[in-house]
Symmetry: C2
Subunit: 129 residues, 2 copies
């Protein structure tokens, strides 16, 4: 794929795998299971920039990843969001939240962060993939 990933997304995450539309990334923050989906098409900023087919695909991939994360972590709540105020390339956050996590009940953006150890990251990436 020739579509480029925003440098900030590259810096903050680990590569997990590629789906039909999206690249799956794991946020390098051990405080929350936090996945980012990036539709690999050029010049996307808003969901309304996608073609109808790609939007349907995005919705499907969000749903599948949400189910997968619920199966893996049994969170109290899934948080799903497309913000992009800082990184304009369209990307969707999926975060498994727990009533005992570091930021609950606040949203995780702008809250504490703690990088994974190499082993931790490896394990989560393998289970996610």
């Amino acid at each position: 794929m020739s579509v480029l990933l925003h440098p900030q997304l590259k810096t903050d995450t680990f590569f997990v795998k590629n789906l039909a539309l999206c690249r799956v990334l794991l946020m390098n923050n051990a405080l929350y299971p936090w996945v980012i989906l990036v539709p690999m098409r050029e010049h996307l900023k808003e969901i309304t920039d996608l073609t109808a087919d790609d939007y349907a695909l995005l919705c499907k991939e969000i749903h599948s990843m949400c189910t997968h994360m619920q199966d893996m972590w049994a969170p109290d709540k899934m948080n799903i969001g497309a913000l992009g105020n800082m990184v304009s390339q369209l990307h969707i956050h999926l975060i498994a939240r727990f009533e005992k996590d570091a930021a609950w009940p606040k949203p995780v953006w702008g809250q504490a962060s703690q990088p994974y150890t190499k082993d931790q990251a490896q394990e989560v990436i393998q289970r996610l993939a």
Copy 2:
């Protein structure tokens, strides 16, 4: 419809209209154009609680409302999110963001709030509906 709206959603918003699946609400915060979509089905907490047909409908209504808000306000960025850490009833936020708004580039949750005047609210609701 017999599905009940969570009291907090009722308190914080104005009713705009009903779509095929969702009730459209306007957040009573004049600092940001902020719409909430509530799928009117019982016992929904996560998007994965929806039937396949209802999920497709939700995706369609999110897309339409997003387009509508872009047409109305020409925002710098749309923020879309399903969080629900405080209010468990499934609801989707659509917020038109501007680089000059009160919270930019932060997410709006937990930031400053300013109620609409009656006239302001009336006008926005009419344009949205």
